[in-house]
């Protein structure tokens, strides 16, 4: 996508209503012994086609926020709208694709079988892109008949990504998808995602890696811990398409420093 096209899309996107709207959302977990506020009064808007990262330390509620958006967790207060409708409506319309930290593949299904899992369950035919082609896109051509136990961690996550994309979701919700991988594979998967994501899908990406967030995102939302609330909302104005080399630029480092400062201030605040 060229810069001009992107600007066009951003303009039409701005004219339309945000795809994801989170207003005053709080989440309180109750156990028999204690209550814990996981999220407090969170507001967030994500435009169609935007790549937004939720960045923060462990336990800041970023995963909870992601699961609330995707309808996997019920919030205690506030409102979540997807394309102006409810989360349940969005779920019924199969607008969400999920990728988790663990690939959660079925060991008895092949790569192709795993990528087709949700199609088999919904009885749907292939989405806009046939599954075989999706596997090619995520770099797994030739591995269709392999079992998960024969794959490396990075390849398993590629399968999980293909599985999420199989139903052609408008919104991709990714919960630290590369956190369980070693540093080298993790960087690689970031580069791959950069290549695969073409701006046609909205992505909400949970991570605790600052460089990962800067590399991938249009916007990085920093959350503070206990209870989770939004601390900063930083647009990343690095030009697209981005290449892995963008990591070496001065601008990239500036964004990293800015985000790190936000997180550190938060940690200091918590300490005092």
């Amino acid at each position: 996508m060229t810069v001009a096209e992107r600007a066009d899309r951003a303009a039409t996107g701005a004219a339309r209503r945000p795809q994801i709207e989170v207003h005053g959302v709080s989440k309180r977990y109750r156990t028999t012994r204690s209550t814990q506020d996981a999220l407090h009064e969170v507001d967030l808007e994500v435009r169609p086609g935007e790549f937004v990262s939720l960045l923060g330390p462990s336990g800041c509620g970023k995963t909870t926020l992601l699961k609330i958006i995707g309808g996997l967790v019920k919030h205690s207060r506030g409102e979540v709208r997807i394309d102006g409708g409810t989360v349940d409506e969005a779920l019924r319309a199969r607008k969400f694709g999920f990728v988790f930290q663990d690939a959660t593949l079925l060991p008895w299904r092949t790569v192709l079988g795993n990528a087709r899992l949700l199609l088999d369950i919904t009885g749907a035919v292939d989405g806009a892109t046939p599954v075989e082609e999706l596997l090619r896109t995520v770099g797994l051509a030739g591995f269709e008949d392999y079992y998960p136990s024969q794959l490396s961690g990075g390849m398993r996550q590629r399968v999980a990504l293909a599985r999420a994309l199989a139903l052609s979701p408008e919104i991709l919700l990714m919960d630290e998808p590369f956190a369980a991988l070693d540093a080298i594979t993790r960087d690689r998967m970031g580069d791959e995602l950069l290549r695969i994501w073409d701006g046609s899908r909205t992505v909400v990406f949970v991570t605790h890696s600052i460089p990962e967030a800067v590399l991938l995102s249009d916007r990085v939302v920093v959350l503070s811990a206990r209870p989770g609330r939004i601390r900063a909302d930083v647009p990343i104005e690095l030009p697209r398409p981005r290449t892995p080399q963008v990591r070496d630029s001065a601008e990239f480092s500036r964004y990293e420093a800015q985000l790190r400062q936000q997180i550190e201030e938060d940690t200091d605040g918590a300490g005092s």
Binding site: D102, I121, S149, Q150
Partner: protein, 280 residues
């Protein structure tokens, strides 16, 4: 593409080391070493009974037992068929019962808390103690043997299956719920196959217990079967026949155990090399 190939190569490289220390020596060792030990024991036993004055009814020589196996084959075979039938039916009943119990236990905390203590208690009851009662209630024919066998088999199946059904990854279940998968789909497409490796662990324990169950059932009231033959030979002080029946029971137990393993490998080819790759 090249990168993926790299990842595979890394995975394969890691695997080589595992094979050197683990599997390479193990395959022949698992077969040869026990066979060697058994040979030593049998030879020592043979020599001992030849060069001492121990009478046959105390400890018959291995060669005498083999001779008896051949001479009394017709009787031994007929009784083996009876016992095998009891084992087979009792095992199947036990497995069906075990799986049927495991489903409500896996799905409901209330059922689990209600049933588990009773199920565990049922295992503490010595089967040999209730077998006479079962004979009293159910008669001398097949029925009490099947019940004793099934009572022994169901327990490991219930425990392993309930564990397996319940141990599916939370995120995977969320994923299925997000596309509105129904309970039947979740059970048959995910929970059941997920539990199969564990269930087969239960089946392997169950099949060895089934042999014991059938013999115990025959012990207290029967007119045929290898267990009956054991008691019969014992009262006649016919220890050669007793050992011959015992050897057949051992062979049946080992063969059935191996058979369960073969079925597992055929049904779960994906499970065999579960541990062969170290993820990178």
């Amino acid at each position: 593409m090249a990168r993926v190939a790299d990842e595979v190569r890394i995975a394969v490289d890691t695997d080589d080391d595992a094979e050197l220390v683990g599997d390479a020596g193990a395959t022949w060792q698992r077969l040869v070493l026990p066979a060697l030990l058994l040979t030593v024991i049998v030879v020592a036993w043979e020599l001992a009974s030849r060069f001492t004055e121990v009478p046959d009814y105390i400890l018959p020589a291995p060669t005498a037992i083999v001779a008896r196996l051949i001479r009394s084959w017709a009787v031994l075979w007929d009784n083996s068929v009876v016992t095998l039938t009891e084992i087979g039916i009792g095992f199947v009943v036990g497995v069906v019962l075990g799986l049927a119990l495991a489903i409500p236990i896996a799905y409901s905390i209330v059922v689990r808390n209600t049933l588990y203590p009773l199920i565990v208690a049922s295992q503490a009851v010595p089967k040999i103690a209730i077998a006479p009662l079962l004979v009293l209630w159910l008669g001398f024919d097949l029925m009490p043997k099947i019940v004793v066998t099934a009572l022994m088999v169901f327990f490991p199946v219930t425990v392993t299956a309930a564990e397996g059904f319940a141990s599916v990854d939370r995120n995977l279940l969320d994923l299925l719920k997000s596309v509105h998968a129904n309970q039947a789909q979740i059970f048959f497409k995910v929970r059941f196959p997920h539990a199969l490796p564990q269930i087969f662990g239960g089946l392997r324990i169950g099949i060895t217990l089934a042999v014991v169950g059938a013999v115990v059932g025959e012990w207290v009231g029967a007119d045929s079967g290898l267990g009956y033959l054991l008691v019969y030979a014992n009262t006649l002080l016919d220890s050669t026949l007793l050992f011959a029946a015992l050897i057949l029971l051992i062979v049946i137990g080992v063969v059935l155990f191996i058979l369960v393993g073969v079925v597992e490998r055929l049904l779960l080819p994906w499970h065999r090399d579960e541990s062969t790759y170290v993820g990178t």
